[in-house]
């Protein structure tokens, strides 16, 4: 009984907040806008709380790994150490994120790591290119042609090879490529609308037990 009530309540909350927020898209109304603003502020706060929960989850996961001496547990030690250090530095200094210590870690540890790991995608893109553009069918041939034109059209070298290539690249990007992308985006929008409606109608309730 209790559970059932909880469920109905949860569904009601979802539908209620959903409709309130959604209404703003359709009506320009000062009161509704303020209600929505309040709800969004609350949601932000809750998201921040959820982040704390998530951090607890991260810590717990790695603690478990360390306790179980599962493969790679040593790395988990470092992960926790890094996490702990950053959090500690941030909370020791009232300036928080802006404190010199945190800034230093951010500047000299976090940024280079993130930038370099992301830079690995350059290599991954190379090996993906090796595989992705094989001409297996008409489809993939089309992809190959479009890909190579755009690839060379972006750099001076391409223009040295064929002086119209930049124009060809621009044409592809402006028309056929945009067309395909729009089709995909519109499709996704349709899917999103129906997915959203199902939740707001209480048909899908991923959050209710």
């Amino acid at each position: 009984m209790k559970v059932k009530f909880g469920r109905s309540l949860a569904i009601a909350i979802t539908i209620g907040t959903g409709l309130l927020v959604l209404a703003n898209f359709f009506v320009r109304n000062e009161f509704l806008r303020r209600v929505q603003q309040t709800l969004l502020d609350w949601a932000l706060i809750l998201a921040a709380v959820a982040l704390l929960l998530g951090a607890v989850n991260v810590v717990a996961t790695h603690l478990r790994k360390i306790r179980g001496r599962r493969p790679g547990w040593v790395y988990s030690l470092f992960l926790l150490a890094a996490l702990g250090t950053v959090v500690l530095l941030g909370f020791l200094d009232p300036r928080g994120v802006a404190s010199p210590a945190v800034s230093w870690v951010f500047l000299y540890v976090h940024v280079p790591l993130q930038a370099t790991i992301f830079a690995l995608t350059a290599f991954f893109i190379a090996s993906a290119a090796y595989r992705a553009f094989r001409v297996r069918s008409v489809d993939s041939f089309i992809m190959l042609v479009a890909g190579i034109i755009v690839l060379l059209g972006q750099v001076p070298l391409g223009q040295a090879i064929w002086d119209r290539i930049a124009a060809a690249k621009d044409w592809i990007l402006a028309y056929p490529s945009t067309g395909g992308a729009r089709g995909i985006i519109l499709g996704v929008a349709l899917g999103t609308i129906l997915t959203g409606l199902r939740v707001l109608l209480g048909i899908d309730r991923p959050h209710v037990k």
Binding site: F26, A47, G54, A181, I185, G191, P206
Partner: protein
């Protein structure tokens, strides 16, 4: 007509808003209509999507080999515009988790956004609780890696490289960091099923996944895997809206050109 618009305008509703609202309202009766048709026994065939068919294979393999299945719900959350993609991932996850527990395949679900984590945890718990011998099977593990997209990708790479994954299923919102995960999966020769919606990412999904759920297809999970009349009806509505959009565009182009 003008007077209606004026009336609406006075109450803060523009013509486009009214139009969109009508569009949204149209969906409801259609949905009800198709659902009732389905209940009455009408059959609506669905175009085959291979990724859905292959999922079970991978889970079966996982059960046989004891290697875990990794499922990623992407870097989206549930309080932002990527909510729908995250929900699609959750819907698929529910299916995957149920199948995995059913045949004893270990499953690890990772998320990046902390708001999605509780839902993933509940979903895995739910799948596990429906198992008749739940205490003899492993509950699928749902965990967060990091809220930052690149860090998340790095964590997933770590799982793919280090945990001998039997299959990698990724459905949700993905950004440019996808390539880090997708290509690592290829390198480790992990079979991958990936669903993503962002056109910026799709070429790389195409290049790295064995089976992909391209854009809109990822929202069809409910209809394909847990066939409920409402979900199939909802796909049908989607198709009708599609036709409506196409006609609108064509009409618009004609009006503009003439």
């Amino acid at each position: 007509m003008d007077s209606i618009l004026e009336l609406l305008g006075n109450s803060g509703i523009t013509a486009t808003q009214a139009l969109m609202f009508i569009l949204l309202l149209l969906v409801l009766p259609l949905l009800a209509l198709f659902a009732s048709q389905l209940h009455a026994g009408k059959r609506i065939p669905l175009r085959p999507i291979r990724a859905f068919e292959r999922l079970g294979t991978f889970i079966g393999q996982s059960a046989e080999t004891g290697q875990p299945v990794h499922m990623s719900l992407g870097v989206g959350g549930i309080v932002d515009p990527s909510t729908a993609e995250s929900l699609a991932g959750l819907a698929l996850m529910e299916h995957v988790a149920t199948e995995a527990t059913a045949c004893g395949a270990p499953l690890t679900v990772t998320v990046s956004d902390p708001t999605l984590l509780p839902l993933a945890q509940d979903t895995s718990r739910r799948a596990w609780e429906t198992h008749p011998y739940q205490y003899q099977v492993q509950e699928p593990e749902a965990r967060m890696i990091a809220p930052d997209a690149t860090a998340y990708a790095a964590g997933v790479m770590d799982i793919l490289l280090g945990e001998r994954v039997a299959a990698n299923i990724m459905v949700g919102r993905f950004g440019p960091e996808y390539l880090l995960m997708g290509e690592t999966g290829v390198k480790c020769r992990v079979p991958q099923v990936v669903g993503a919606a962002d056109p910026q990412v799709l070429p790389f999904v195409h290049a790295t996944a064995d089976d992909m759920l391209l854009g809109e297809e990822m929202f069809a999970v409910g209809a394909y895997l847990r066939p409920r009349p409402v979900h199939i009806a909802s796909l049908r509505v989607q198709d009708w809206l599609r036709v409506f959009l196409i006609l609108t565009i064509v009409l618009g182009v004609l009006l503009r050109s003439l």
